[in-house]
C-alpha cells in the first residue's frame, strides 16, 4: 500500500538503528573492524551463500532476503504471500534454522548459509519428503509448498517419527489456501515411514459387477439394459 510505508516501518530506519553493528559485521571484516560504519541508503555490496553458491549482489539495505532471492538472484521457489511473517510461504533455512525470509534484510543474511527449496533435491533427486508430497497430493496450487516442505523437513530433522499433533504444530505457521493440510500430514507420515501408501482403490466401475442384475425387479429395465449392451457387444 502506498498510504504508509511498506511493512509499517521504514527499513532504512531499522538499518540505521540497532542493526547497524550486526549488519556491518556481516558485510565484511573491514566494516566489522570499523564497528560503527553504516551502509546505505544506496545500494551496498553483499555476498549471499545460497544452496552452496556464492552470489555477489549490490542491493539497498532495505531489500529483504526474500526479495533478494527472488528478484536479484532469480530463485523464485521462495514465495512472498503476506510480507510480514504470518504465512510461512517465504520460509528458507538459515544456518540450520527455518526463518521467514520476508522478515529479514538481505544484508543480515550475509555470511550465513542459506538453503531454499531449490537446494533441497540433490542433483535432481527428490528427497523422500518431496516424493511423499507428490504421492499424497499434498500440493494443489503449489504456492505454499516450498515453505511447507522446508518446515516439514525441519521437523523430520529434529523428530524423525513425529505424531500427528507434532506435524500440525510444525506447519501451524504455513498458510495454505487450497486446503492441503490433511494431505500434508499424510505426506510427512509417509516420509517418516509411519504410513504406507495404501490409497490405490479399484476404479469406480469395478463395484458394478452385472449392469442389469440390480434391475431384476423391473424386468423392462433389465431387458432394455441387456439389449443395449448386446448391441454394443459389451455384455
Amino acid at each position: 500500500m502506498s498510504d504508509e510505508p511498506r511493512g509499517g516501518f521504514t527499513r532504512r530506519d531499522l538499518v540505521r538503528g540497532s542493526l547497524v553493528g550486526a549488519i556491518a559485521a556481516g558485510v565484511g571484516g573491514k566494516a566489522a573492524a570499523a564497528g560503527l560504519e553504516s551502509i546505505g541508503p544506496g545500494a551496498a555490496p553483499l555476498e549471499l551463500t545460497v544452496n552452496g553458491t556464492v552470489h555477489r549482489l549490490s542491493v539497498e539495505p532495505r531489500v529483504t532476503l526474500a526479495d533478494a532471492l527472488r528478484d536479484r538472484i532469480g530463485l523464485t521457489g521462495t514465495k512472498v504471500v503476506c510480507g510480514r511473517g504470518a504465512c510461512g510461504a517465504c520460509t528458507v533455512v538459515l544456518d540450520g534454522r527455518t526463518v521467514c525470509s520476508c522478515l529479514m534484510l538481505a544484508q543480515e543474511a550475509s555470511g550465513k548459509s542459506i538453503t531454499t527449496i531449490e537446494g533441497v533435491a540433490v542433483q535432481g533427486r527428490l528427497t523422500p519428503l518431496q516424493e511423499a508430497f507428490i504421492a499424497a497430493d499434498a500440493l494443489q496450487c503449489g504456492f505454499c509448498t516450498s515453505g511447507m516442505i522446508l518446515s516439514c523437513q525441519a521437523l523430520l530433522d529434529r523428530n524423525p517419527k513425529p505424531d500427528r499433533q507434532a506435524i500440525r504444530e510444525a506447519v501451524a505457521g504455513n498458510l495454505c489456501r487450497c486446503g492441503t493440510y490433511n494431505h500434508v500430514f499424510d505426506a510427512v507420515e509417509r516420509a517418516a515411514g509411519l504410513k504406507t501408501a495404501g490409497n490405490d482403490t479399484p476404479h469406480p466401475a469395478s463395484r458394478i459387477p452385472d449392469p442389469a442384475s440390480r434391475f431384476e425387479d423391473d424386468p423392462r429395465v433389465a431387458t432394455a439394459i441387456r439389449e443395449a449392451l448386446d448391441q454394443e457387444g459389451m455384455a
Binding site: 527472488r70 504470518a86 497430493d137 500440493l139 503449489g142 501451524a172 486446503g179 476404479h203
Partner: protein
C-alpha cells in the same frame, strides 16, 4: 446418431436414448473398464511444484523488466481535487507514470486505485509513489450493511450505479431495478402461492441469519507481467481465464485479439476473483508501452484484501412452513447483501433448488457501501444461502418434533443426494448424535449437524483441443487451459491416455497459453465438464485417424482396423496385428492429429443438479466459547471422477475453506474511518493446520450422460454446505440455534447465555435441544461489521 445409454448411480440406473453428435464418442457406460480414469493419479506438475522449479506468473523475470506499484485512495469516499505526478516522474529509476483517477473523479472505497508508477527496482517504485501529490476532498461515507440501508445514509452512488475501477461492475440488470438510496432491488422470483402455503402449514418459523464478508485470499496475488514487441502484447498473468483476459485486453487497448498473447503456466489459486485484466493489468500494459520495457505489476497482500473482490455479506430472513408430517408447504427468503461498490449479492440458489417446495418467494436486494467491490467467490451466493436455509430447516424440524435428517429426506427431490445423506449419516453416526452430546466435563458439549449442496453446471460447448499421435507411439495434447491448482493439467492427460489406451507417461500436455486451442475459463466449476469431453473427443478422433493411416499402410479397408488395449489389428486377421508402438512406426513422420471442438451437451440425457451432503461433528466449550470442528464427512458427486486423488483434494480444500468461513474469516471495516482494519492474513484469520478437522471424503459416482465423460466440476459444491453443517452442529451441541457466522467465542457465549436465560425463565434446569424458541438474534445491527 441415436444411442441407448445407461444413466444413474449405483443402485439406480435407467436407460436413456440420446442423440450422439457425429465424431463424438458416446458417454462412458457404467460398466466401462477404465484403465486410469477414476484412479488416484499424483499430479503431473508435482515435481515442479515441490522443487521450486514451477514458474508462476509472479515469478517471471524478463531482461530490462520494470516493477510497478499502485497508489490507492486512503479515504472511504473522496473526490480527487488534484493529482500531481511531476515529482514521481523525476524520482530515481522511474520510467513511466500513469494517472488512473482524474481530478474531479469520485472515489468510493479505501483502496481504490489513483495512480501507478514503473521503476527499475521495486524500492524505487515505492519511493516514486511517495512522491505523488494528491489532494482529496473527503466525502461522507457509509460502510455497514444496516447503516447503508437507513434513510439519509450517505449515498455511495449519487447517480447511476456503476464503477469504473477495481473490476467492480454492477450487474447490467441493475438498470431495470428499483433503487432506493443505497438499496437496489428487489430481484424477485416466485412459484405457487407462498401465503396459501403458509396457511397450510402446521408450523411456521421465521428468523434472520447473518453472514460476513469473506475475501478470496489466493496466495498468489493479482497481477501480470506485460511485454510489448512492437504492436504485439504478451502478458504472463495470474488469471482464471486466459482467453477472456486476451479478449478484454484487446478490447480495452483497442488492438486486434490476434496481437495479444496470454500465458499462465502455473497459478497460485483464484477462487473466483481472477478474471480479466482489471485495473492493475491494464495499468501494467500501459506502463510497459510508455516505458518501452516489460513491466511487472503484482499486488501486495494488503491491496489484495482491499480491492480484488470478496464474498458479500448478507442478512437473510427466512420464513418457512411445514405440515406436522414433515412436508414443506412454503418458503420465503428476503436478503440484503453488502456488495460494496458492486451488486450481485443474491443468495437464493439453495432456497430455490435444494428442497422441494411448491410455494416459494424470493426477494433479493443489493446494498451499496463504501467498501471494496464484491465479486464471484467459489459458489457465489451458496455458502451463505445454504447456511440460512439449513439453519431454518433445523429450526422447523425442531418445531414439528422431527429428526432434522428425516425432515430433509422427506423433502429432498434428488435421489443422488438422498443416497449421499444416507451414506454420510451412517459414517458420522447420526443415530447416536444425541447420546454423544454430553461429555464428562459439563462445560464441554458435542454436536452433529448436516447441510446440503446443489450445483448446476455440466460444461459448455466451445473448447477445442488438438491431439497428436507421434511416430514413436507417444501422444501430445494441446489445450489452452489454465490450471489454478485444481489439477486440470493432469485431468487432461488422464482423459487422453484413457481414450488412446496409453500409459500416462506417453502423454504430454501443453496448457496455459492463448496460442493453444481455445479452452474454457476456470469458473462455475465448468473446467472439467467443458474440457474433459473436448479432450476425449479429440483423442477419439486421433485414434480413428491412426486406424485409417495404418489401414492405408496395410492396404486394407479404411474402417477395418481396430485399436484396443494397446493393440492395432484387423479382427480375425493375425497378419495384421501390432502393438501400438510398432503400428505407430508405420506412420509418416508428422504422425496423425485431430483437432476437435466440444460437442453440445446431451440435453436428452439425465439432466440433474450436482449434489452433496456434509456432516460436521464439533466440540464446544461453553465456558470459553471456543468451537473445534473434529470431523467433516463430505459426500459428493462430481459425475464420474477423472482423477480420484485430485477430486479428494478439491473436496478437502472446499471443506477447509468452509471451516474457515464458519469460524474465523471476517473482513472488518472501521466505522469511523471506513478502512479495513485487518487487511492481512494474521488478523484476517484463515484456518490453519491446527484448525482443520479430519475429513472423510466419499464420492458417489454418477453417470448422467450429459457429456461424453459424465463429468461435472467439484470445486464449488465442495465448499457450499460446510458452514451450514458446522453451525447446525454447534446449535445441536448448545441446544440453541446459531444464526450468524463466523461462530466466534462471542457468538457461542451469547448463545449459551440465551439458553440459560431460557432455562431460568422456564423454571427448570434442563439443558438440551428443547431451547430453541428464544434464540440468539444476530449480534446486530452488526454495527461496525461489514
Amino acid at each position: 446418431m441415436k444411442e441407448k445409454i445407461r444413466v444413474g448411480f449405483e443402485g439406480d440406473f435407467q436407460v436413456k436414448e440420446i442423440d450422439v453428435a457425429a465424431g463424438d464418442p458416446a458417454p462412458w457406460d457404467p460398466s466401462h473398464q477404465f484403465t486410469i480414469v477414476g484412479t488416484r493419479v499424483p499430479r503431473l506438475d508435482g515435481k515442479a511444484k515441490s522443487t521450486g522449479e514451477a514458474k508462476y506468473s509472479i515469478d517471471v523475470r524478463l531482461p530490462g523488466m520494470l516493477y510497478a506499484r499502485i497508489l490507492r485512495c486512503p479515504l472511504a469516499a473522496a473526490a480527487v481535487e488534484s493529482l500531481d505526478l511531476t515529482a514521481a516522474r523525476q524520482s530515481p529509476g522511474v520510467r513511466a507514470v500513469l494517472a488512473i483517477a482524474q481530478p474531479g473523479e469520485k472515489l468510493r472505497f479505501a483502496g481504490q486505485e489513483v495512480a501507478a508508477v514503473a521503476a527499475a527496482t521495486p524500492e524505487q517504485a515505492d519511493d516514486a509513489l511517495a512522491a505523488i501529490r494528491v489532494a482529496y476532498e473527503p466525502r461522507p461515507f457509509v460502510v455497514g450493511l444496516d447503516a447503508a440501508r437507513e434513510s439519509g445514509a450517505p449515498l455511495v452512488f449519487e447517480g447511476k450505479a456503476e464503477t469504473t475501477t477495481s473490476g467492480g461492475e454492477v450487474e447490467t440488470r441493475a438498470g431495470n431495478l428499483a433503487r432506493n438510496g443505497n438499496v437496489l432491488g428487489p430481484r424477485s422470483s416466485s412459484r405457487g402461492d407462498v401465503e396459501a402455503g403458509f396457511k397450510k402449514a402446521d408450523a411456521v418459523v421465521e428468523a434472520t441469519y447473518a453472514t460476513q464478508v469473506q475475501t478470496h485470499s489466493a496466495l498468489e496475488t493479482h497481477g501480470l507481467v506485460a511485454r510489448w514487441d512492437g504492436e504485439e502484447l504478451t502478458v504472463w498473468a495470474s488469471t482464471q481465464g486466459i482467453f477472456d483476459m486476451r479478449d478484454q485486453l484487446a478490447e480495452a487497448l483497442q488492438m486486434p485479439v490476434s496481437k495479444v498473447r496470454v500465458i499462465t503456466e502455473y497459478m497460485g489459486g483464484g477462487f473466483g476473483a481472477k478474471f480479466g485484466p482489471r485495473v492493475e493489468g491494464l495499468a501494467a500494459a500501459r506502463l510497459a508501452k510508455e516505458a518501452g520495457a516489460p513491466v511487472k505489476l503484482f499486488l501486495d497482500r494488503k491491496e489484495e484484501q482491499l480491492a480484488t473482490g470478496n464474498r458479500p455479506s448478507a442478512v437473510q430472513t427466512i420464513r418457512i412452513g411445514a405440515t406436522k408430517d414433515g412436508k414443506l408447504t412454503a418458503l420465503q427468503l428476503t436478503v440484503y447483501g453488502n456488495g460494496g461498490t458492486n451488486g450481485g449479492t443474491g443468495t437464493s440458489g439453495p432456497v430455490k433448488n435444494v428442497y422441494a417446495c411448491e410455494n416459494l418467494k424470493v426477494d433479493e436486494y443489493d446494498v451499496f457501501t463504501n467498501a471494496g467491490p464484491s465479486t464471484a467467490m467459489r459458489a457465489p451466493g451458496h455458502p451463505q444461502g445454504a447456511f440460512a436455509l439449513e439453519a431454518a430447516m433445523d429450526e422447523l424440524a425442531h418445531a414439528i418434533g422431527m429428526d432434522p435428517l428425516e425432515f430433509r429426506l422427506k423433502n429432498d427431490p434428488s435421489a443422488v443426494r438422498r443416497e449421499q445423506f444416507r451414506q454420510g449419516a451412517e459414517k458420522i453416526g447420526w443415530k447416536t448424535r444425541d447420546a454423544r452430546r454430553q461429555t464428562s466435563d459439563p462445560e464441554i458439549v458435542r454436536g452433529v449437524g448436516v447441510g446440503a449442496a446443489v450445483w448446476y453446471n455440466t460444461g459448455d460447448p466451445g473448447p477445442r483441443a488438438t491431439v497428436t499421435i507421434h511416430k514413436d507411439g507417444s501422444a501430445e495434447v494441446e489445450h489452452g487451459a489454465q490450471d489454478l491448482g485444481t489439477g486440470s493439467r493432469t485431468m487432461i492427460a488422464i482423459v487422453a491416455a484413457e481414450e488412446l489406451g496409453l500409459p500416462l507417461e506417453k502423454v504430454s500436455v501443453s496448457i496455459g497459453d492463448s496460442r493453444l486451442p481455445y479452452a474454457p475459463d476456470s469458473g462455475g466449476s465448468t473446467m472439467t465438464p467443458s474440457s474433459a469431453p473436448t479432450i476425449r473427443r479429440a483423442a477419439y478422433q486421433a485414434r480413428l485417424s491412426l486406424g485409417r493411416a495404418i489401414a492405408r499402410e496395410w492396404k486394407v479397408p479404411e474402417n477395418s482396423v481396430k485399436i484396443e488395449k494397446g493393440r492395432v489389428f484387423v479382427p480375425g486377421d493375425p497378419k495384421h496385428d501390432l502393438a501400438w508402438a510398432d503400428a505407430c512406426k508405420l506412420l509418416p513422420s508428422p504422425g496423425v492429429a485431430a483437432t476437435a471442438e466440444r460437442a453440445d451437451n446431451h440435453d436428452d440425457a439425465w439432466k440433474r443438479f450436482t449434489t452433496g451432503a456434509q456432516f460436521a461433528e464439533v466440540e464446544v466449550d461453553r465456558a470459553t466459547g471456543k468451537v473445534r470442528v473434529d470431523r467433516i464427512v463430505a459426500v459428493h458427486d462430481c459425475g464420474v471422477p477423472i482423477n480420484r486423488l485430485a477430486t479428494e483434494s478439491q473436496i478437502q480444500g472446499g471443506v477447509i475453506q468452509g471451516v474457515s468461513y464458519a469460524l474465523f474469516e471476517d473482513r472488518i471495516l472501521d466505522v469511523a474511518t471506513g478502512r479495513m482494519v485487518n487487511p492481512n492474513v494474521e488478523s484476517y484469520k484463515i484456518a490453519g493446520a491446527l484448525d482443520v478437522p479430519e475429513i472423510d471424503v466419499m464420492l458417489v459416482s454418477v453417470w448422467d450422460g450429459v457429456n461424453n465423460t459424465n463429468s461435472v466440476g467439484i470445486g464449488e459444491p465442495s465448499t457450499v454446505p460446510t458452514a451450514a453443517a458446522i453451525a447446525n452442529a454447534v446449535s445441536h451441541a448448545l441446544g440453541v440455534q446459531i444464526r450468524e457466522i463466523p461462530i466466534t467465542p462471542a457468538v457461542v457465549l451469547a448463545a449459551v447465555a440465551a439458553g440459560e436465560r431460557r432455562v431460568a425463565g422456564a423454571g427448570h434446569a434442563q439443558r438440551g435441544p428443547g431451547l430453541r424458541e428464544e434464540d440468539v438474534e444476530p449480534a446486530d445491527a452488526r454495527g461496525g461489521r461489514s
